[in-house]
Amino acid sequence: MTTTDPYAGERLKLSPFYPRQEVLNIREAWSAWNGYKFAEYYYDAEYEYFCVRNQCATYDITPMQKYEIRGRDAEVMLNRMVTRDVTKIGIDKVAYCVWCTDEGRMIDDGTIFKLADDRFMLTCGSPCTAWLAKSAFGFDDVTITDVTDDLAALSLQGPTSCAVLKNMGLHGIDTAKPFNIMHFPFHGESLMVSRTGFTGDLGYELWIPPELGLKLWDELYAAGEDYGIQPYGEAATNMARLEAAFIMPAMEFNEALRTVNFEHDQTPFELSLGWLVDFDKPHFSGRSALLKEKQRGPKYTLTKLDIEGNRPAEGSYIYGNKQCTKEIGYVTSAMWSPAVKANIALAMIMTDQLDNKMWAEIYYEKELRQYSRIAACTRKKKPFWAPSRARATPPPDC
């Protein structure tokens, strides 16, 4: 008799860190990301969020898509694809980038790691193989390899993260500036550490061959034992990134290549990411459409709102009058921020209405009854959470 699992084709892949995560996921709260079994949370979402803000916590970013782009033409190819000037990235530096269709609509965002003049790593939320292949069209010396499964990655975020890495023996890690990369010998291999993350706080991302994944986990957790280390999942990530006002696919933007309806996707200008579009560099995908967009001004602008009361304005419309008859936008993400003690939201607001007063109509439920309230909104210029330690080198308490 064969013992093959007839459902094998439908089962989720397991991260190299899974054996440890399985033990720590006391609530059995699993979801999925790019085919990997992935924790929604482990013990308590809010507690894990607080570990990021107060101590430190790890987030498994193995399922994030990772591509190695090699060759003499790697740099020009990437520069042709993304809106930022890739030639300005130094070796062992990371840059946050977006890439667009010819119509200037955003396909995805991600980070480019420059590892050598002819070697880059691109990371992004959704698979991007086909678009990369299209972008490489016409370039002679460039090879693109999907290394997602060949590289385990763990994000370590929070105020004690630097102290933990130091305690683990990563000497000099405190000299790494934001977006810097450092390499450390690790059991005969190289451990790459970048000072990056998706929480707006002090934090690092650790990249290691999957065979060494568990070793890395164990050493990190041993070093972090006295610094409150705790794994966190999707739920806490979503809280932290919203406080930092970072965008999320399927929340703030609809990936252009998956958008059916006309202009239901976004431009970087609409997402307040105009600073990532560099018109001074050679031609890139979407350039002329984006130039037009810049001159005309985006129809919508992603805006940070501080909203009266404590009911999250999830899914709310934003109005230009208190009677809620003049619709001027919609909320993309909203939550009560326990760290900031504010009712925060990101919202797409019609650009010509930005200076208006704004109200959100918030619906909520209380013991099976539906209620609504109208709450005044205040526009915020800065991210809700931006502690100085996130930028300081060396970081404090390290």
Binding site: R27, N54, N310, R311, A339, K341
Partner: protein
């Protein structure tokens, strides 16, 4: 010309809150603090290098979010962080684990009593209903029952409307609730003694009442009416210790141009023609201002820094008789490692959370009997938490500190005055109790600070060491706080106000007394109100 519009005596967190709101309204304020540090009973102190004790208050839940948000205390460095799980220790081997997760918590109660596990839902529901109601009164000035001013009448109507939402039966229950003992109240819900003891403990914290004393059920409510991000009854820690709260409020005072002076003890409030006009400092300096606000408790304000002859008839006597009995001690212990407790699994959340050495109702009552006789108990009720397990800034990595709140400890001993030897013997009784549940605990001790009511009075200036600045009994609550007829922050001498925990809604780190007093002062001075209305989770 006065240099200042307002003098605030005392830099407790309420005095600071008061100053922040007055300064925000454009007033020129100065806060005068006798100690060389600010915060009063909301303070963090480094008495052993590397360790930061929350010397007095240690957990936070009453702090009104509306104030936290309005004064932007987050930007001034304040962040409240959670701790998870509590273990209640029975007299013997029984342990009651309060898990953070609802399902787990229910399951655990069931292990002790299936009846009580079910009853817990009703208990929590009833208590939440009572809390919701009382919460609505916090950031409002109590109406004066003897007044016919429209504002007081409107306030009574508002209250009547709120109370009426309870329904007739619950209304009767609610009124009854205020006069009951915690033990009696719990009797209606629970059968298991350890569960009862665990639930009763908030009823005696800080009060000179026992679990069987009428009125202790209100004290229970007082301790569960707060919330952390809308979760009513939950308690959190201030990152950096409770002093971080005072420091953040002081940041707001500075932001709005207020001044804070330490080492500036006030000796006397100056009164001329029945009006407060300023203060004399202990060093003899005189400072004058349009108004004077006292953050000290009622007894201290009227019997220590005021002349009897400056007070209207009867006030001095009232202040003297103000119920402010001290009943609590605090033992702060720096530890070289994490203590382990017998009968507690190595669950990293539960085992480091809070510890309630409650024993049983009987043990708690016996400890109370000792207090009545002017002694401390060899088997005290101790409520503990290990902040360093949750806050990386209060002890060196791998080291810890444990906050132990002790009920009871008398302000005066029948054996004569407190001495350092007696203080240490009291501290030892606490360590012995913990050692019983954590063999080897003693060997972990690096440093300790023992505070009896004697120290609390002399250092913090809380009369008799009463943590609430006056008992929370119905005769001293709401419009009766501190005295009947003076429930609206204005004191018997013109231009004199009170803003500390001796006023409505009473003790705890809430900032409410200070904010409410500021609102009344701004009305009198005809300034635009700067104090926000309370913010609820749409209760």
């Amino acid at each position: 010309m006065n240099k200042y519009d307002a003098i605030i005596i005392g830099a407790g967190h309420n005095g600071l809150t008061n100053a922040a709101y007055l300064a925000k309204a454009g007033l020129n304020v100065v806060v005068l603090e006798k100690n060389d540090y600010i915060g009063g009973a909301a303070v963090s102190r480094e008495l052993q290098e590397g360790w930061l004790y929350s010397s007095c208050s240690y957990v936070c839940s009453m702090m009104r979010q509306a104030i936290h948000r309005d004064l932007d205390l987050g930007r001034h460095g304040l962040i409240l962080v959670p701790y998870l799980g509590t273990v209640n220790f029975g007299d013997g081997d029984e342990r009651l684990f309060s898990y953070h997760d609802e399902e787990a918590a229910h399951h655990e109660l069931k292990r002790h009593s299936p009846h009580d596990a079910d009853a817990m839902h009703r208990f929590q529901t009833d208590l939440t209903r009572y809390s919701q109601l009382i919460r609505k009164t916090l950031m409002r000035t109590p109406p004066d029952p003897a007044s016919f001013r429209p504002r007081d009448i409107m306030e009574f109507l508002y209250l009547a409307k709120q109370f009426w939402t309870l329904g007739e039966k619950e209304l009767y229950e609610y009124v009854r609730f205020f006069t009951m003992s915690a033990a009696e109240y719990l009797e209606d819900y629970f059968e298991n003694d350890l569960i009862k003891a665990a639930m009763a403990s908030p009823g005696i914290i800080g009060t000179a009442l026992g679990v069987y004393s009428p009125g202790s059920s209100y004290v229970l409510l007082h301790h569960v009416m707060g919330d952390v991000d809308g979760s009513i009854g939950a308690w959190g820690l201030a990152r950096g210790g409770m002093g971080a709260i005072s420091d953040a409020i002081a940041g707001a005072v500075a932001e709005h141009g207020g001044e804070i002076r330490t080492n500036a003890g006030v000796q006397k409030v100056l009164v001329k023609n029945g009006k407060a006009i300023g203060v004399v400092l202990e060093n003899g300096d005189e400072i004058t201002a349009r108004i004077v606000v006292s953050n000290l408790d009622a007894k201290r304000t009227f019997t220590r820094i005021m002349d009897k002859s400056d007070l209207p008839e009867g006030i001095y006597e009232r202040a003297k008789n103000f119920k402010i009995r001290g009943s609590s001690g605090k033992v702060n212990i720096a530890l070289s490692g994490m203590p382990k407790f017998t009968g507690v699994p190595e669950n990293r959340y539960l085992a480091r959370g809070g510890q309630g050495f409650s024993g049983s109702l009987e043990t708690m009552e016996r400890a109370y009997d000792c207090w009545k006789r002017g002694a401390w108990s060899d088997d005290p009720f101790v409520e503990s938490v290990i902040p360093s397990a949750w806050d990386p800034t209060v002890a060196p990595a791998g080291k810890h500190w444990m906050s132990n709140f002790v009920q009871y400890c008398p302000p005066e001993l029948s054996s004569g005055p407190w001495t350092p030897e007696k203080r240490d013997a009291f501290g030892k009784s606490v360590i012995d109790k913990i050692e019983r549940y954590s063999p080897g605990f003693r060997d972990l001790i690096v440093h300790m600070e023992v505070r009896t009511p004697h120290e609390i009075e002399n250092e913090v200036g809380l009369t008799e060491g009463n943590i609430f600045q006056g008992e929370l009994t119905i005769d001293q609550l709401f419009f009766n706080r501190p005295f009947p007829g003076y429930g609206q922050y204005r004191m018997p001498v013109k231009n004199l106000y009170m803003c500390g925990s001796s006023t409505h809604p009473g003790g705890g780190v809430s900032s409410v007394c200070g904010a409410n007093a500021a609102r009344e002062i701004l009305i009198d001075l005809r300034r635009t109100n700067t104090v926000p209305v309370d913010d609820f989770y749409d209760e």
